[in-house]
């Protein structure tokens, strides 16, 4: 009994140790770059914590390009886009979840297929369409291709289907209109799913790169991911300063946002399952 008990304890402890080791290795690259970004270049790679701390790297890189502008652009893009996607997605999801209409099955299949084909991969064609709409080099031009999100429709529809029928019937009896029922019954009941979608949308569009790179030309419209790319790998060669501070600038805000809302974030990603 006791021998077996101690053996189990030892195996458990080893398992925990192994987990810690793997977790440490996994986070090490990020932690290391963050560490180096606050160190003087000459001692950036040493582990001596008593000297060499500085903000110079960040200041240098920050001043090398209009990053303030890039941040504002990214913020406008991700917030505006999440709001638009939610409005359009909620309306469509409501149609699918509550009403019978001719063509419903076919339309839903159409939405499902779009889950895989991101507009961003149809680079040249969408470049032409968006340019023809006069939106080249604008923030709406970046967002418009994703404004109708198949993923939003799918996710919100799944949530809407769980809304109790009794609530809907009660509201009908009270004479609420169809949009009234959407607003006062469906949306309040599924708030957390919609919030989950918002988090995923914000983080994925904060991270988008290739499409904004193509559809923008000047700092007035570029998001931070595109703005930073030039400083990360300049023709003049890599420097510790540019790389480490550049990384902080591009991952910093989203990372902080994520650490604050980490529980919600992880739940949202699990719920989505089909990003």
């Amino acid at each position: 009994m006791s021998a077996r008990f101690w053996m189990n304890r030892t195996t458990d402890a080893l398992g925990v140790l192994r987990t810690w080791l793997l977790a440490g290795i996994w986070i090490a690259p990020l932690a290391y770059v963050l560490w180096a970004s606050f160190r003087e270049p000459s001692v950036a790679l040493s582990l001596d914590i008593t000297r060499g701390w500085t903000f110079d790297n960040l200041v240098t890189v920050w001043n090398a390009a209009p990053f303030g502008r890039y941040y504002i652009n990214t913020a406008i893009l991700v917030l505006g886009l999440a709001a638009t996607q939610i409005v359009i997605g909620t309306l469509a999801a409501y149609a699918f979840a509550r009403f019978e209409f001719p063509g419903r099955e076919l339309l839903f299949l159409f939405v499902l297929i779009q889950l895989m084909i991101f507009p961003e991969i149809l680079l040249l064609e969408n470049f032409r369409i968006v340019s023809a709409l006069g939106l080249y080099n604008t923030i709406p031009g970046i967002g418009i291709v994703s404004a109708a999100s198949a993923f939003a429709i799918f996710l919100i529809r799944q949530a809407f289907r769980s809304v109790p029928k009794e609530l809907v019937e009660a509201a009908e009896v009270e004479g609420a209109s169809r949009l009234g029922i959407l607003w006062r019954v469906y949306i309040p009941v599924t708030r957390s799913s919609i919030a989950a979608f918002a988090l995923i949308s914000i983080s994925s569009h904060w991270n988008s790169f290739l499409w904004p790179l193509i559809i923008t030309r000047s700092p007035e419209a570029r998001p931070v991911t595109v703005g930073i790319a030039r400083y990360l790998a300049p023709d003049t060669g890599l420097s510790i300063t540019a790389l480490s501070a550049g990384t902080v600038i591009v991952v910093g805000p989203l990372l902080i946002f994520f650490l604050i809302f980490q529980k919600r974030f992880m739940q949202s990603f699990v719920r989505s399952e089909i990003v």
């Binding site: 793997l22 977790a23 469509a92 699918f96 149809l122 169809r178 991270n207 930073i228 890599l238 089909i274």
Partner: protein, 305 residues
């Protein structure tokens, strides 16, 4: 009294009253309209345009045909991109999923610092691809990169891992696995938590060891999640090419190019729209096939009708 006046004075409900008289099917179509317009304009229409453009002759005046596709198949860079993409899928997807499963099993138990360990595994999945790329550019850098210091400690020569055709792909695969595994860990974690505890308890009572329990209980029950994650991971390996822009520009000598990068390069750098459209159509076809497989899986998991 003008229409405007009455409009302002009437309560909102009366204003919207005509909406209430629209029959349900028409109402449903109306509220679907913005989504349908958006999805068509930026997915279906460009797809159709792409197919049309890809069928144009390579030179002006040439009749329509499959010339661009022949050019594509004959293009060694396209072959490299396709082979690279397939290699990426074949190597990174199983490794990512296996690591994700291991991580999920590890952090599914109770121990001190469990939340921190989960966070450590998941955080890379949150980073922008550009950010992950810059982190690994730092790690791989020949002069000050940690990886090279490690190689030196092991008695190997320093080398520019991203600058050699033989090492650039494995080096990029590491980045991909590092970035993706955390996300799939979350999927597995959710699935693990839905496995009834009695199953494992019964197995423990029967004297089954940890590895045996994993092989006979956990792994089979995670199979649906694995299938699902597999599709997402393969699709991701075709879609995520951002790190090439920061890390290698497809080089050295196109050794690390991937299909989507090749499309970008031919469309926006070499200005060969017809050719780029052919490669686009090819890539979209792959993704549509993956979508169909995914829908069948979804169909089994949740009844979407």
């Amino acid at each position: 009294m003008t229409l405007e006046d009455s409009g302002f004075r009437l309560p909102r409900r009366r204003l919207l009253a005509p909406l209430g008289r629209i029959p349900d099917p028409v109402f449903a179509w109306l509220i679907l309209l913005p989504a349908l317009i958006g999805l068509s304009t930026f997915s279906i229409v460009p797809m159709a345009i792409g197919i049309w453009n890809s069928l144009q002759g390579a030179r002006s005046g040439e009749p329509m045909g499959l010339g661009q596709y022949q050019a594509m198949i004959g293009d060694p860079i396209f072959s490299t991109a396709l082979v690279n993409n397939l290699l990426f899928s074949v190597v990174t997807v199983p490794i990512s999923l296996a690591l994700a499963m291991l991580m999920a099993v590890l952090v599914n138990r109770r121990f001190h610092g469990r939340a921190l360990a989960r966070l450590a595994f998941f955080t890379p999945a949150m980073l922008p691809v550009v950010g992950a790329a810059s982190i690994w550019l730092f790690m791989y850098q020949p002069d000050f990169g940690v990886i090279n210091s490690l190689l030196e400690t092991l008695g190997l020569a320093r080398q520019n891992l991203l600058g050699q055709p033989s090492t650039v792909l494995p080096a990029l695969m590491v980045v991909m696995v590092w970035k993706e595994a955390g996300f799939f860990m979350l999927l597995y974690l959710a699935a693990l938590q839905s496995i009834p505890g009695e199953l494992n308890e019964a197995a423990v009572l029967e004297g089954a060891g940890g590895w045996y329990r994993f092989r006979r209980i956990t792994f089979p029950l995670l199979m649906p999640t694995t299938l699902f994650a597999l599709i997402i991971a393969v699709a991701n390996s075709f879609k995520h090419v951002d790190f090439l822009f920061v890390m290698t520009q497809g080089g050295p000598a196109n050794a690390s190019t991937l299909l989507l990068y090749h499309i970008w390069d031919t469309a926006f750098i070499q200005f060969r729209p017809g050719y780029a459209a052919a490669v686009s159509t090819f890539l979209v076809t792959i993704l549509v096939i993956l979508a169909v497989v995914q829908i069948r899986l979804l169909d089994r998991r949740i009844h979407y009708r």
